[in-house]
């Protein structure tokens, strides 16, 4: 039997609140292979970030646990690097220094000074940030900040890369570029990735599996969709691909038919409009 890489084992999470315990997650159970790219999708507030934080070790599960390569996860650590939604760079350090902080902490004793410098530059190069290495976060755009955040996470050489809506705050075009970069990096390095997203196209384009969560409270995994599309994937070709559109439809159906809550019609319409905007972007990139 093949030993499992990452096992999210029957995780239940309760938060203490003034009115008693609030059960956010109920029995979330998922096994992820090495090098697999998994997306978590679900309505706002269902508990996606909570799952990620439990894997990161920032939260302790009330019941169940997370096992990574045979060891139980009890505390945060650089083997499970997190890319936060709002980039979380230290504003008083340059891009280079932000990555340096992580590299020195993780490899401080194992690498020489020259090797550290080279490793920092290599990771910034991976995310195409060579030209603005020595700028501070307030001097670069949102997309660039997110790139640096990814470089910082990659530079830790994590076993698992955890991303909480990494591109949520970006405009559609920048997001498309970032998705390309992420696909490249994943193809090169083969990291295990768990990514939270609200964007159906993003999930289908990037993932090996899409984990769809039910609505909270006591959210759990509703369905898991395996995406059998050949890599490398090209968003322009995908737009006309029948399989791609089928997967996309499945996810939309889960989100807006099976998991739709009363009074959510307006939101659903908005989401639909957003999706059509995405399509326009695809056309725009093709034209360019």
């Amino acid at each position: 039997m093949k030993r499992e890489h990452l096992n999210i084992d029957h995780v239940t999470m309760e938060f203490p609140t003034p009115t008693g315990a609030f059960r956010a997650l109920d029995n979330v159970d998922l096994v992820i292979d090495k090098g697999e790219f998994v997306s978590l999708i679900g309505h706002s507030g269902c508990g996606k970030s909570t799952v990620l934080n439990v894997v990161a070790g920032l939260y302790q599960a009330t019941a169940g646990g997370v096992i990574l390569d045979g060891t139980e996860v009890n505390e945060p650590g650089p083997d499970r690097a997190v890319v936060f939604q709002n980039h979380s760079l230290l504003p008083w350090l340059t891009a280079y220094q932000n990555v340096e902080l992580a590299v020195k902490q993780v490899f401080g004793r194992k690498k020489s000074r020259a090797e550290i410098k080279q490793w920092i530059e290599h990771n910034l190069h991976l995310v195409h940030m060579d030209h603005a290495m020595h700028k501070r976060p307030d001097e670069i755009s949102g997309g660039m900040k997110q790139r640096v955040g990814i470089a910082r996470a990659l530079a830790m050489q994590p076993k698992v890369l955890l991303m909480d809506e990494p591109f949520g705050a970006l405009d559609a075009l920048t997001r498309a570029h970032m998705q390309e970069s992420l696909m490249e990096i994943h193809a090169d390095l083969g990291n295990t990735v768990i990514m939270i997203t609200h964007d159906v196209d993003e999930a289908v384009l990037l993932s090996d599996r899409i984990v769809m969560m039910t609505n909270g409270p006591a959210a759990t995994i509703g369905e898991i969709l395996k995406i059998d599309l050949a890599r490398p994937r090209n968003r322009v070709e995908m737009a006309d691909d029948a399989a791609y559109n089928h997967y996309r439809h499945e996810v939309l159906q889960f989100l807006y038919e099976r998991q739709r809550r009363p009074g959510e019609e307006a939101e659903a319409v908005e989401q639909e409009q957003e999706s059509t905007q995405e399509l326009k972007v695809v056309k725009a990139t093709r034209a360019a």
């Binding site: 920032l58 650590g77 650089p78 230290l90 504003p91 992580a102 902490q105 307030d138």
Partner: protein, 321 residues
């Protein structure tokens, strides 16, 4: 080719000039006018309340007195040196005494004394308040434990501290060869006790409100306590710490003047008190010069802190005022 006038002085230049120079000047002129008009209406036991011109007169008197005193001092040392040289010429083994000049400190000497004292008290206060603030800010329980004590001690007036400080200093600080004057220690410690709190509270609040995501970053990286404080907590609490420091300097300066008046410790406060007791026809004018000097020095101290903050702040774009 003709250069039009408004190429050299654009409209924006004019507005900037008016708002940054002309407007304050107009305000000062109005203030001086009101002062001079109302001063004429008030008769005190020391004569008419001095207007701007009388105060200006006293200010230049104080400057003259300062230089006269300095000349006297120089002359004193010259005479002493001559005497000693003559003594030594007669008998090379003679013991010569060098006595220090003991003239009355001038207005400007008092300003310097006050500045040195406030600086001492402020530095002592910061050396205590910043570390304590960091430690309390990092621990919720410690914050809850210390907060009531701080809230209780914070509003205590300098006038209440002073007798206690005086008694403690004279009980504890007993040496034959004192390095510092007791009065200097009394004032500095009173300043310290009163101006410590804004820095402590602001540091604690700044430290405890560090962005949760940044704390998570430090957890994921498994930064040690010291690295976390040095790399993440301090820089992000920096603006709050400086806000506290600026409040502390202003409070320290106000407290010092009061303490000097009450305890007759050398400094600007003593100058004001002495003039008040003196009660000559010039006294009110001289006190007003002191009041203006106190205000102006306080302003300069605040500006100085602001410049320091701009200097060392990582965020050069922040608007500081």
């Amino acid at each position: 080719m003709m250069l039009s006038r408004d190429k050299i002085f654009s409209t924006e230049d004019y507005t900037a000039f008016i708002s940054s120079f002309v407007l304050p000047m107009v305000a000062i002129a109005i203030f001086l006018g009101l002062w001079s008009a109302s001063a004429k209406q008030v008769q005190t036991s020391l004569g008419q309340l001095p207007g701007p011109s009388a105060v200006f007169q006293q200010a230049s008197n104080l400057v003259d007195e300062h230089f006269a005193e300095r000349e006297k001092e120089a002359a004193f040392y010259q005479r002493q040196e001559k005497r000693n040289a003559a003594k030594l010429a007669k008998d090379p083994n003679a013991k010569v005494k060098i006595r220090p000049y003991t003239g009355k400190p001038t207005f400007f000497d008092q300003i310097v004394t006050s500045l040195v004292t406030v600086f001492t008290g402020f530095v002592l206060a910061s050396l205590i308040a910043i570390p304590v603030g960091i430690i309390t800010g990092l621990s919720n329980n410690l914050y809850k434990a210390i907060n009531p004590v701080v809230q209780l001690l914070k509003p205590v007036s300098p006038l209440a501290w002073l007798p206690i400080v005086t008694m403690v200093v004279s009980a504890v600080y007993v040496t034959d060869d004192p390095m510092f004057e007791k009065s200097y220690l009394n004032s500095a410690i009173t300043v310290m006790l009163c101006c410590m709190w804004p820095t402590l509270i602001n540091t604690a609040v700044g430290v405890s409100s560090v962005d949760k995501d940044l704390i998570n970053v430090s957890k994921v990286l498994r930064l040690g306590w010291f690295t976390k404080v040095y790399k993440i907590v301090l820089p992000s609490a920096f603006p709050m710490i400086f806000t506290g420091l600026r409040l502390s300097v202003s409070i320290g300066w106000m407290v010092l003047i009061a303490a000097e008046m009450l305890a007759q410790n050398p400094g600007l406060g003593k100058f004001v008190w002495d003039e008040f007791q003196n009660g000559s026809s010039n006294s009110l004018g001289r006190i007003m010069v002191a009041v203006i000097a106190i205000g102006f020095t306080g302003f300069l101290l605040d500006r100085g802190m602001l410049m320091l903050q701009r200097r060392v702040s990582w965020d050069k774009t922040a608007v500081l005022r």
